[in-house]
């Protein structure tokens, strides 16, 4: 009897877990609309934990996110590659522990002059743009948000 109860309890747990799984699976059928100001992934309305995780996914599996329209809010940062002389701009998001910061590079829609057309380092920005995966000559790729516009 004892063990029967144990089995029963474990079975119950499994059933609940499976039900949850189905509930989530059905809720995940995403709507595919494509208007001009449609945003696929809105990071600005997510919690820090979620932002970190989504950006992590974007960096590790960029193929899945190419072409998606992304809105994100973070701190402005820039850095110059000393070898190529190219300057990168980034939107950096601090996570809850502040040690696992994640960021995405971006390129603005209209060319701008640095530093006068850009916000100051570390100031809060919100951008919307298309997620792309740019390959360099040596084959190493990096994710970048193209055609970005600043929004309020």
């Amino acid at each position: 009897m004892r063990l029967y109860n144990l089995y029963k309890n474990i079975l119950k747990t499994v059933i609940v877990a499976v039900l949850c799984l189905f509930a989530f699976a059905t809720s995940s059928i995403a709507s595919e609309t494509n208007s001009a100001n449609h945003i696929d992934i809105d990071l600005s309305r997510m919690s820090a934990t979620m932002v970190y995780s989504v950006v992590f996914q974007m960096v590790t599996e960029p193929q899945k996110y190419v072409g998606k329209r992304i809105k994100m809010k973070g701190a402005f940062s820039s850095y110059k590659d000393e070898e190529t002389g190219r300057r990168f701009f980034g939107c950096v998001i601090k996570d809850a522990l502040a040690c696992c910061s994640q960021g995405l590079a971006f390129e603005t829609f209209k060319p701008r002059k640095y530093p006068k057309d850009y916000p100051s380092e570390g100031s809060s920005i919100t951008i919307i743009g298309n997620f792309e995966y740019e390959k360099e000559e040596d084959g190493i790729g990096y994710p970048i948000i193209k055609n970005a516009i600043f929004v309020k």
């Binding site: 009897m1 004892r2 063990l3 029967y4 089995y7």
Partner: protein, 217 residues
């Protein structure tokens, strides 16, 4: 005196932990129907010897022979209670039934025969009313009786008891001694008991083994 049957024969038995030998080259025989009390001061090897008999500790040299078709599973063992057990969350029933784990292979639950046997053993130690009670809430005497019931479940012919009355009040001790005496006389069980209580030992026992007089140290 009627003919005695050897149940256990120890020859040149050496027991110990690590590099330390506690029992050295010991010869001894235990006969069917014995009520054997083992006495001696702390650290003289009484408990070690009992652990050897119970098969918990392997002999470093010499051997322990089981005679007269005695099987390991016919020997019940009541070890000293540990601190961890004193507040262990388990029901009396769970503890007593655990005695069958050496017999059943992979049974997911205990059959009716085993449950009935457990009830009998609880009745023999006068603990049947405690069946559903929590072990950690029992008194010292009740705890010992439950553990004795567990030993009985695993035993058919012989009981090895390690200081069964230590820490009990006089009434509980007397109770315990009565139960053991009953098992010896009515159930014809062979009893081997390690004890500090020399007076009781000489009163109930049919044989006394004094570890103090052994050549060891």
């Amino acid at each position: 005196m009627n003919q005695t049957t050897n149940l256990i024969k120890c020859s040149q038995l050496t027991l110990g932990y690590g590099s330390k030998n506690i029992v050295n080259g010991f010869d001894y025989e235990i006969n069917a129907g014995d009520y054997l009390c083992i006495i001696g001061r702390n650290g003289c090897g009484k408990t070690t010897f009992l652990r050897g008999l119970a098969g918990v500790l392997r002999p470093k040299a010499g051997k322990i022979e089981l005679r007269d078709n005695l099987k390991r599973k016919e020997i019940g063992y009541l070890p000293q209670i540990t601190i961890a057990q004193k507040d262990f969350p388990a029901s009396v029933e769970e503890i007593v039934l655990s005695a069958f784990q050496g017999k059943s292979l992979l049974l997911p639950f205990y059959g009716r025969a085993l449950r009935e046997r457990a009830s009998e053993c609880l009745a023999l130690t006068r603990t049947e009313n405690l069946r559903k009670a929590s072990f950690r809430e029992l008194s010292g005497g009740q705890k010992q009786r439950v553990l004795l019931a567990r030993a009985l479940c695993a035993a058919e012919r012989m009981l090895l008891l390690d200081e069964p009355v230590t820490g009990l009040d006089p009434e509980s001790s007397q109770n315990m001694y009565n139960i053991i005496k009953e098992l010896h006389e009515q159930k014809k069980m062979t009893i081997v008991m390690v004890t500090h209580d020399v007076e009781a030992a000489t009163k109930h026992a049919t044989r006394v083994l004094d570890f103090n007089t052994m050549s060891n140290n």
